[in-house]
Symmetry: C2
Subunit: 217 residues, 2 copies
Amino acid sequence: MKDAAIILSGGMDSVTMLYEYQPDIALAISFDYGANHAANELSFAKYHCNALGIKHLIIPLKFMSEYFKSSLLEGGDAIPEASYNEDNMKSTVVPFRNGIMLSIACGIAASNGLKKIMIANHGGDHDLYPDCRESFIKAMDRAVYEGTYERMEIFAPYTNLSKGEIARHGRRLGVDYAKTWSCYKGGDKHCGHCGTCEERKAALREAGIDDPTEYLN
Amino acid sequence: MKDAAIILSGGMDSVTMLYEYQPDIALAISFDYGANHAANELSFAKYHCNALGIKHLIIPLKFMSEYFKSSLLEGGDAIPEASYNEDNMKSTVVPFRNGIMLSIACGIAASNGLKKIMIANHGGDHDLYPDCRESFIKAMDRAVYEGTYERMEIFAPYTNLSKGEIARHGRRLGVDYAKTWSCYKGGDKHCGHCGTCEERKAALREAGIDDPTEYLN
C-alpha cells in the first residue's frame, strides 16, 4: 500500500531505503537547507525518483544557513578532515535537523492523505547526532501521532543497522552507489578525506562493493 | 534569566505571553507560512518586539501554502463564518503546524545558546487542533529533549487556560489588544464574523475589556 512519504537526502542510506521500500512510497521529500553539498545530493535524489517513477518535492529551507550554527552550513573549508569518532565532527551537527524534516514531512504527508513518514537514520549516527537515536525517533513518533487527526506514524527501520549493513541491503537490491552523495565539502567530486567520505568508503568495503566513487585524490 | 525563545504570531495569546514572560525571553520567532492574515499578524508581532526591545526573526515557510491542505492558506473566501465549535472550522487546520514551528524554533534556540521554547497554545484550541493539546506538547517536549545536545525544553504555560483567562492576564499587564490580530480572512480590518473573530470578541468580553478592535461591520 502506497501510504508513506520518505525523507530523501540523496545519500547512500535514504537512497537504499527508497529502493527497499519502493512499494510503500507515494512521495519523496528532500530539503535544501543551504548545506555545502546540497546541489550534489539533491540531483541524485531527483535521479532515483525519476528512475522509480516516485513523485519528488524539494522544500527550500535556506533560512537555516542564516540562523543555525553548524560547520555544515558555513562553507567547505569549515568541514573537519577526521573520522566520525572524533570530537570535532560535532561541529557538523545541525541542531534538531531531523525533527524539522520529520515535522514538515508529517504536515505534507497528512495533507496528501498518507499515514507514514520514513527516515533513514542509522546506528552509526547515534553517537554524534542526538536526533538520530532511537529515543528521539520514539518521542517524535509519539508527537506526530498525538499532533495530527490522521494519527501519523514514523517508520525508521534502519535505526539499529550499521551503514555497512545498509550497503549490504543495497548490494542485494542493485543500488547504484555511484549515484549517491556523501561528502560534506561540496566540491564536484567526493573529497575522500572528510568524516562522511571515510564512513562511505568503510561501508562499501564492509558490504563487499567495489567503490564506484570518483574521489578527488 | 533570558534563556527562552518564544513563537510569536502577533495574535492575542502569544502577545500576552510575550509581556507576561518578558524577563525570560531572549528571542521571538514568527513564521510566514503564506496564511491569508500573515501581513497583519506579523506587523503586530514586530511592533511588540520593538516596544520591548526583544530580537525578532521572521522565518519564511511559503512552501506551506503550496503543499499543505488548509482553508487558512487558500484565500479569505475559503474561511467559514462560524464559531469554533462547528465542524467546518476543521478546514482551517494546518496539519502539524505547531510541530513544525516548535522544531524550527528548537533548532534556532539551540544555535543561539538558549534552553527553552515557549508557545501560547491554550485550552480553547484543544477540540479543534490536535497539535494544541497537552498530550502533543508533552510528546514534543520529550522529542526536543531527546533530540538535542542542549536537552531543550518546551514551556507552554497557557495549555490549560481559556482565551478569556489569557485576556485577563493581558488586562492586568496592560496589553494593548488593538495591536493584535485574530481574523483569518486577511482584510485590512477584522471581519467580525469568522470563528477567530467571534472567539476574540468573547475573550475580551469575558476579561471585562472594552473591545478596541475596528471591525468591518
